[in-house]
């Protein structure tokens, strides 16, 4: 810069004469070619130069200088032309000197300025410091000058004005006001950043000083445009002349503003926002960057405002600083916003002064130059360091500002709308006027102009439409409106308005039935029903997710940037707010677990919660993980309807068909006949200690095989069919099983085993039976009982009461201590063979006890089972129990439970491992499982609502229930009964019977000619064959 200045001086000396010569000519010519723009400079000027060579040389000399110039030059020609003009203008020595001095000064100042450029705040102060120097003189000068100027201005513009404003302006006339080619042009001049105003004022000063010498018309500095000012002049040369010597102007750069854009230069004021008191703003920079602040005072002249902030002050650091101690600057650390507590400050020996503010007269606590009141920090900042457009404070922020007992922040809320986005009202919106004479007038938007909204008022006598400023309007809702939130934190949610508090609406969310607060501005009326945002990234509402710390939970709400997750903790509902990145992954495994009664629970099953805080609730299982169920109940209002419970504290209700199928329960084709919980059957198994979670064979899919290891299984296919053993190891699709009977380890195909795993001891508590009987599913097991009951009990309790669970409970418990061995010998999990036909072949072990004819060759498998008793695995129970079934103790029919075994037990079954029995039996049994159990025309007992009656089944309905005609002859009223409410009347000797199972025999009638234990000897009517059939599949035929 300074070098350039020097050069210029030298050059000026050289070229001075030439330029003086040129001056007049050039100007004249330029006037002729007015409007040609700067580009034509060289051409224009060329004829005026007498000595082309000199010019050439001159240009060479200036090459250095050109390098300095800004890139704006279109070409060398233009650049040189400009310089030429500049030089010409700078002819005056006086100015030159001044310029030289100034430029030094400027350099210094520029450096200073550079250092402060980051902070407009400081820069502004700098401005203030600089301004008076330049501003003051004109004020102090004698008034003559001003009057003179006024006169001149009058001269210059007066006529026009008179002519133009006399009449009413029409659109056409307005058009005429637009600049044309004949009007002075607007030039954009580059100046020092931050010195725009100053420069413009300097130009004004200069004009005042030099009067008409300066041929520019006006100078404009715009607040929003940095680095440039506009100068209105007819010619570029005039601009250059005017700018010559101004230290803030880098004269090289002058650009013409195209005529079309001239109006835009001066029509930007709409962007300028007026900050009023109580407006909400946000800080742009510094410690408080992004913080919400409230304007308390505006100084439009100094472009400063005083704002109220929540202080972010580290008192300790402040104390240290004030005491002159070394303060370690931690850059990254920004103290959290906290209200200033003066007492606390005093404790840290920070001097707190209590003084009255000079301007406002309010009292402030002053600490180290910072002013506090009511805990808030009052800070004076430059307008430029604030964001004031479209500020959307959150409710939390507003809440904080409301802190010291301010009632209703209505005024400031209304100012929220002052700077809101455009295009926010739509035709048809219901609105209310919030300011001015028409305050509280309601209406509907008819048309939206730029700033004005035309509304159709609600009142009849008012004009049809009224134009109201957008800022005076607010959307209006009434309680009961169904709305959707379209922006803000709750974006996307829908709900019904329950309360309108000025500009804040309270909604009841459609999905969560919770209250939502939203600004009226963010809401539109809508009939749509949505949950709001339901997805961020890969995670969606209701997904089961693994969290960072390996806990897990289900997403119950999606907020703008975070999820609410109900954690998988069962003792109490625990909700955490997690960010997207805190979620490790989604858990989508399909896992089955077992409920309290060892029913398989899988997703979508309906369960009832029996224990814990959610006790009594019922809902469908949404997710299962680590034995924890997430149950969803639409009517549960908390946590979006989700409850988190242990699988063990639930019981499956009804159950879906697929679920039953998984259990291999053929009866599932009748919804009423869902898998029976096998409560009573397995109390003895605890000694095995099988893990409760080790579910049935079918439950394991995809879950890894760990659960199987150690479980007791039965081989149901292959050469070891019928053997039982403990799983030692799982190897891919094979398992190694330690056979109980043979004390050896064999490898069996996974698919060839069925596991009948032990139950945990706690299952044994008798209370559980009570619970079981409460559950709706409980009755559903009854139909199954016929399978088992007679096998065990029927002999003893021919009246079928024993089938009912509570009875069983009683029936069993006394035996329990004794019976384990027996149960073990039988299928450990009789339910499973009751349920799954494929178990049948393996299950006949139980039969031997029932078999009327010991020599019938039943005991093939039992053989194995008996020896099994010797295996150490079979717990002490074996040893303790004087098992009547051991071959060595054949003559002990007097054991309490022996009744059912009486006929067969002591017999030599163990010794006769013939397999025939199995073969005979299995088809019959297999058949049993295929059809509906009961058939028309059989006599049944109906248990209903505590009463018991006899009836005749008339019809089997497809849904598994029955139409039963009451009365032993079926002549009473006809009712429909669920399958679990009926049970067949057990036939007695010489009764007419109907065979309800047994494959080909099914449906046949016959006569019971004898009962042997649990088997009946039947003479089939059609064939007159005599068959031995399980009593269970026989039902007494109703007498017509």
């Amino acid at each position: 810069m300074s070098r350039r200045g020097m050069d210029r001086d030298d050059e000026d000396d050289e070229e001075y004469e030439e330029q003086v010569e040129d001056f007049d000519e050039e100007e004249a010519e330029e006037e002729e070619e007015r409007g040609g723009g700067g580009g034509g400079g060289k051409k224009r000027r060329r004829p005026s130069f007498i000595d082309d060579d000199a010019e050439e040389v001159d240009e060479d000399e200036e090459e250095d200088e050109e390098d300095y110039d800004d890139d704006d030059y279109d070409g060398g020609g233009k650049g040189s032309s400009r310089k030429r003009q500049y030089r010409k203008v700078s002819a005056s020595n006086f100015f030159d000197e001044e310029a030289a001095v100034d430029s030094d000064e400027e350099e210094e100042e520029e450096e200073v300025e550079d250092g402060f450029i980051v902070g407009p705040d400081v820069q502004d102060e700098d401005d203030n410091r600089g301004r008076p120097r330049h501003r003051q003189p004109p004020h102090q000068e004698d008034h003559e000058d001003l009057e003179e100027m006024a006169r001149r201005i009058q001269e210059r513009y007066g006529k026009q004005r008179l002519a133009e404003y006399d009449e009413e302006t029409t659109d056409v006339e307005q058009q005429a006001l637009l600049p044309s080619v004949r009007d002075p042009k607007l030039w954009m001049v580059k100046c020092a950043i931050g010195r725009e105003r100053e420069t413009a004022v300097c130009l004004m000063q200069k004009y005042i000083d030099k009067g008409s010498e300066l041929q520019i018309r006006s100078a404009i500095a715009l607040d929003h445009l940095k680095n440039y000012i506009y100068v209105e002049a007819d010619k570029e040369a005039h601009v250059r002349e005017a700018c010559k010597g101004l230290r803030n102007i880098f004269g090289q750069k002058i650009t013409l503003v195209p005529i079309r854009e001239m109006t835009d230069v001066l029509s930007v004021e709409s962007k300028a926002i007026d900050l009023a008191r109580d407006t909400w703003v946000r800080m742009k920079i510094g410690t408080y960057k992004g913080d919400l602040a409230k304007v308390v005072d505006v100084d439009n002249v100094r472009q400063r405002v005083r704002v109220k902030l929540i202080p972010r002050i580290d008192l300790q650091a402040l104390a240290n600083k004030l005491e002159g101690r070394e303060v370690v600057k931690k850059k990254a650390f920004v103290p959290p916003p906290r209200f200033m507590n003066v007492e606390e400050a005093r404790e840290l020996h920070i001097r707190v002064e209590h003084r009255r503010d000079a301007t406002g007269g309010e009292r402030f606590d002053t600490i180290g130059g910072m002013m506090f009141k009511d805990g808030f920090l009052y800070k004076s900042v430059s307008i430029k360091s604030l964001y004031s457009q479209n500020i959307k404070p959150t409710f939390d922020e507003l809440e904080k500002f409301r802190k010291p007992g301010e009632t209703g922040d209505v005024a400031s809320l209304s100012t929220l709308f002052a700077n809101r986005k455009k295009g926010h009202f739509m035709k048809g919106d219901a609105v209310i006027v919030i300011k001015g004479d028409l305050k509280n007038l309601k209406g509907w938007v008819e048309k939206v102009d730029e700033d004005n909204v035309h509304i159709r008022p609600e009142m009849k006598d008012l004009p049809k439409t009224l134009a109201v400023n957008e800022k005076e309007l607010c959307k209006y809702f009434e309680p009961g409106n169904h709305v959707k939130v379209v922006s803000g934190a709750q974006e996307g949610a829908t709900g019904m308005v329950v309360k309108v508090e000025q500009h804040v609406l309270i909604l009841i969310s459609d999905t969560t039935k919770e209250h939502i607060r939203a600004f009226a501005d963010d809401v539109v009326e809508s009939s749509e029903v949505t949950t709001g945002v339901t997805k961020i990234g890969d995670y969606e509402l209701r997904d089961l997710v693994l969290l960072d710390n390996s806990s897990f939970g289900v997403i119950i709400r999606v907020e703008s940037e975070a999820f609410q997750v109900l954690k998988g903790v069962t003792d109490r509902p625990e909700v955490v707010l997690v960010k997207l990145r805190e979620i490790k992954c989604k858990l989508e495994k399909k896992i089955n677990v077992q409920d309290k009664f060892r029913n398989t629970v899988s997703s979508k099953d309906v369960v009832r919660i029996l224990e814990g805080p959610c006790k009594g609730n019922q809902g469908s299982v949404e997710h299962i993980y680590r034995g924890v169920l997430f149950v969803f109940d639409r009517h549960h209002l908390e946590h979006a309807g989700f409850m988190c419970v242990k699988a063990q504290s639930c019981v499956v209700v009804g159950g879906s068909r697929s679920n039953s199928d998984r259990n291999g329960d053929v009866h599932s084709r009748f919804p009423g006949l869902r898998t029976p919980p096998r409560i009573p059957q397995s109390p003895h198994r605890f000694s095995r200690g099988g893990p409760p979670s080790a579910g049935g064979r079918h439950n394991r899919g995809g879950r890894g095989h760990d659960g199987l290891t150690g479980a007791t299984v039965k081989v149901r296919q292959g050469s070891y069919k019928g053997y039982r053993g403990r799983v030692i190891e799982v190897k891919g699709s094979f398992v190694r099983v330690e056979l109980e009977s043979q004390m050896k380890v064999v490898t069996v195909d996974r698919n060839h085993i069925s596991d009948n795993v032990a139950v945990t001891p706690q299952r044994e508590t008798s209370s559980r039976y009570g619970m079981g009987s409460e559950t709706p599913m409980h009755p559903s097991r009854t139909p199954l009982h016929p399978y088992m009951t007679p096998m065990r009990d029927a002999g003893a309790t021919p009246i079928h009461d024993g089938m009912r669970t509570p009875m069983r409970d009683r029936a069993w418990n006394p035996y329990a201590p004794m019976s384990p061995p027996r149960d073990n010998w039988e299928d450990g999990n009789p339910g499973s063979w009751g349920a799954s036909p494929q178990y049948q072949p393996g299950s006949p072990p139980s039969r031997p006890y029932e078999a009327p004819t010991p020599g019938a060759g039943w005991a093939s498998t039992p053989g194995g089972n008996y020896s099994e008793a010797g295996t150490p695995r079979d717990s002490s129970a074996y040893a303790n129990a004087p098992s009547p079934y051991l071959p060595s103790t054949p003559g002990q029919p007097m054991t309490p439970n022996s009744a059912s075994y009486l006929p067969g037990t002591p017999g030599g079954q163990p010794m006769t491992p013939g397999t025939g029995g199995l073969d005979i039996m299995s088809p019959v049994l297999g058949g049993d499982n295929e059809g509906p159990w009961f058939m028309p025309d059989i006599l049944v007992n109906v248990h209903r609502a505590g009463e018991e009656s006899v009836g005749v089944i008339k019809e089997v309905l497809p849904d598994g229930s029955y139409r039963v005609a009451l009365g032993s002859n079926g002549n009473g009223e006809t009712i429909s009964a669920l399958s679990n409410e009926v049970e067949a009347v057990v036939p007695r000797k010489s009764d007419k019977i109907k065979i309800m199972g047994g494959g080909t025999l099914r449906g046949s009638t016959g006569k019971l000619i004898g009962v042997d234990g649990t088997d009946g000897i039947v003479k089939v009517d059609d064939t007159l064959d005599v068959k031995i059939l399980d009593l269970v599949i026989l039902a007494k035929l109703a007498q017509p």
């Binding site: 009961g480 019904m496 309360k499 009841i508 209250h515």
Partner: protein
């Protein structure tokens, strides 16, 4: 509000019901199908009161089902905005209470409960006036005004208020 209106429905009947009792079957099936349902336009169908007309049946190819256009009279219940209803409180929580008027569920937000009533937590959550004279808890009967309705395919959900003259508890089981 209850209305007695005539509605029309196309009934599909399984061939096995054809016979002397076809009409009866049709009517009973209609009742089974229609009663208790909800439509946005008409509200809940409370009961079918009569059959206006049964049109000619059209046999569906392939299935053998027959479609009959049936016009029937029925009583429907549809809540309206501004309607005053009497309802039984089913649940009380801190956000308000739910009440039921027949099949319609109504939520009364705590903003729409008079300000002098405050929520009391406990075994039996309730809203009670400061002097304890009025108490809203489960099974209380309240008279309320519906201020908004939302109609889904299967239910109508309403927002109600008791913050108005002559609204509030009309019968409290606790005091009886």
């Amino acid at each position: 509000m209850f209305f007695h209106i005539v509605l029309e429905r196309n009934m599909q009947l399984h061939p096995r019901y054809f016979g002397r009792n076809l009409r009866d079957n049709l009517v009973s099936k209609l009742m089974k199908d229609v009663e208790g349902t909800c439509s946005g336009r008409h509200g809940f169908v409370v009961a079918v009161t009569g059959i206006e007309n049964i049109g000619k049946g059209i046999i569906r190819d392939g299935t053998g089902f027959v479609t009959f256009p049936v016009k029937y009279q029925c009583v429907v219940f549809r809540p309206f905005k501004g309607e005053i209803l009497e309802a039984v409180v089913t649940m009380v929580n801190k956000m308000g209470f739910f009440a039921e008027a027949g099949p319609v569920q109504i939520f009364v937000s705590n903003h729409l409960i008079p300000d002098d009533m405050e929520f009391q937590t406990g075994d039996m959550p309730n809203y009670t006036t400061s002097d304890g004279s009025v108490k809203i808890q489960k099974d209380s009967e309240v008279r309320l005004k519906i201020i908004g309705t939302r109609v889904d395919a299967t239910e109508i959900f309403c927002i109600g208020t008791i913050k108005d003259d002559f609204l509030g508890v009309i019968n409290d089981p606790a005091t009886v």
